[in-house]
């Protein structure tokens, strides 16, 4: 279906990534946001708070991030597309409810405009050190989806994709920005509503009495209802059966956890999204995501001038990780170079996929700024030796 015109600010704008992310959410149909302001993400909710009365929806500034992350789950079960927005310290507080969103299969988007950590760290400066936290931060076994834009335009475009994935798979979707992308202002083109494809919630067509809240078909994703539609449903964080009732035994646990994980793993190759530049037959492949991909691209082009056969594989979606593609490239590449604004997180996944068939050279960075292109260039030259 097409985007609701009320939420689409069609035109050409010169806005920052935070504002573009907000416009993406509005275009995607997000009509409920609960959040607690935190640098460098605050501009997303500031804009949402000023725009949403004109579009028709609700913004609530909650007392903290714990409350924000549970309020959006309520909003989703009331029928709205929902989002919360935060940065590192807030994300840590939200972890309990990310697990609740996973087990209750509540579609939601969690924006994390990453800043330097641990703890309060560097509120106004960038990092990409929450990559593992978004994947593993809540307890228990689960799968999520995470996207990472590298420009204000992508903050708009990929936000629509984030909502569409959340609805398709009924899973929390993380939108991993960083301080640079959030506060960077560039041209952003917002298309006409009829040129924006949005995925509606997977509403049930079954009647009350015939409907089981957690009964899934072949795609492993159950149909949903909302409060007020006349269905009697039970939604709980306890392990539950297809009716939603607590079923605390190993059989129910096995059935539920396997389905929660497999609804993502079985569709992994559909979800994975990478941008490739000259990776086929390359001796060196640079793997990057988010803001680092822009710096890495500059280094890749400089290395090509020096005669190195180097490719660039950029993760648009970080989770699920494109392990299959990297394993393919490891058949021919001599080395992988992995710059990231953390001390070595994505590189662990690259090493797992490469599995010893090529060298893997990390370029860690503690955050606070981006890499120097020369640092990445030097590592590419070293890898090409």
């Amino acid at each position: 279906m097409h985007a609701d015109p009320k939420g689409v600010l069609t035109g050409i704008h010169f806005i920052d990534g935070d504002h573009a992310a907000c416009e993406g959410a509005l275009a995607a149909g997000c009509r409920f946001v609960a959040g607690y302001p935190i640098t460098p993400s605050t501009e997303v909710v500031e804009r949402f708070a000023s725009r949403i009365p004109l579009v028709g929806g609700v913004f609530i500034q909650m007392e903290d991030e714990i409350a924000s992350s549970i309020a959006i789950l309520g909003g989703a079960w009331a029928g709205k597309k929902v989002m919360t927005v935060t940065s590192g310290p807030g994300l840590s507080l939200m972890m309990e409810h990310i697990g609740l969103a996973v087990i209750t299969e509540t579609p939601c988007v969690i924006v994390d405009v990453q800043r330097g950590g641990p703890s309060t760290g560097l509120p106004t400066l960038p990092a990409q050190a929450d990559l593992m936290q978004v994947k593993w931060g809540s307890h228990g076994d689960y799968e999520i989806i995470a996207l990472s834009p590298n420009s204000p335009q992508e903050c708009f475009d990929l936000m629509i994709k984030a909502f569409n994935l959340a609805e398709t798979y009924r899973v929390p979707v993380f939108f991993m920005m960083d301080e640079v992308v959030g506060h960077m202002t560039e041209r952003v083109e917002i298309p006409a509503p009829e040129d924006i494809d949005v995925v509606d919630r997977k509403w049930t067509t079954k009647k009350p009495g015939e409907y089981n809240v957690y009964q899934a078909g072949a795609d492993l994703v159950p149909e949903m209802v909302k409060a007020g539609d006349g269905y009697r449903i039970h939604v709980t964080g306890l392990t539950h059966d297809e009716r939603g009732y607590p079923a605390m035994n190993p059989v129910a646990q096995d059935k539920l956890v396997r389905r929660l994980i497999n609804k993502i793993r079985d569709h992994r190759e559909d979800i994975v999204d990478v941008r490739e530049d000259g990776v086929e037959g390359a001796d060196v492949v640079v793997v990057s995501f988010g803001i680092t991909s822009r710096v890495a691209q500059a280094a890749v082009e400089q290395a090509r001038v020096r005669g190195v056969k180097v490719g660039h594989l950029r993760l648009v979606i970080c989770w699920p990780f494109p392990a299959t593609r990297i394993a393919q490239l490891a058949e021919t590449a001599k080395a992988f170079v992995v710059p990231e604004l953390n001390m070595g997180q994505m590189v662990l996944e690259v090493e797992r996929a490469v599995c010893g068939r090529a060298a893997v050279l990390p370029i860690g960075h503690a955050g606070g700024t981006v890499h120097e292109p020369a640092t990445i260039l030097n590592k590419i030259m070293e890898a090409a030796q």
């Binding site: 050409i12 704008h13 010169f14 920052d16 640098t39 460098p40 106004t124 301080e179 640079v180 506060h183 960077m184 202002t185 560039e186 041209r187 803001i291 822009r294 710096v295 691209q297 500059a298 700024t369 981006v370 292109p373």
Partner: protein
């Protein structure tokens, strides 16, 4: 023009970020170029140091920060002290010359072009439009972006009802800049 890097510096409240925003908007919306604006983001409020970095290029911009600008647009003595040494030796300093005195911090070979922008703004009726006088001065001196694109960006960036005043401010700075170009002084 392949790529031009611009640093704007001044005090919070002088319209430093808006100045950078107008240059970026003119380039990326009205002049078919690429532009990236980065603003120094910190706990600063009005009256403290404030700066913006703008990259304007024909091609997509990768590395977003400005380390060594081609153009330095400076509206306060502190910003001059902080940023003048970063200017490229082939670069140009555009400065408020009744607030700032040039010294040997400016790299040898760099051009320095001054404008009494605050006085011009006061003569136009509002000191607030100082930054738009500087926008005009930048446009007139550098010729980096078309006058038409710059005027559209000014109109599209200032509060409704103030367009005429701001366009007068822009033109004042623009004309002063065009006249001054021939008389560029080399210092350092």
């Amino acid at each position: 023009m392949a790529k031009s890097e611009i640093r704007v510096g001044g005090l919070g409240g002088q319209g430093v970020i808006l100045l950078g925003h107008i240059i970026g908007k003119a380039a990326s919306i009205y002049d078919s170029k690429h532009a990236t604006l980065i603003q120094a983001f910190g706990p600063e409020a009005r009256g403290s140091a404030c700066s913006a970095q703008v990259t304007v290029a024909d091609e997509a911009i990768g590395y977003p920060y400005v380390k060594s600008p081609d153009y330095l647009v400076i509206m306060s003595p502190d910003a001059y002290t902080q940023f003048a040494p970063q200017l490229k030796p082939t670069g140009t300093l555009l400065y408020e010359n009744e607030l700032i005195t040039i010294d040997d911090r400016l790299p040898a070979g760099a051009k320095a072009l001054g404008i009494p922008a605050t006085r011009f703004a006061e003569e136009l009726g509002r000191r607030l439009v100082l930054n738009i006088v500087m926008v005009g001065f930048f446009a007139g001196v550098t010729g980096l972006l078309s006058k038409d694109a710059m005027e559209k960006a000014v109109k599209g960036s200032v509060p409704k009802g103030t367009e005429e005043l701001n366009l007068r401010a822009f033109r004042k700075g623009y004309e002063y800049g065009v006249e001054l170009i021939g008389a560029a002084t080399v210092t350092g």
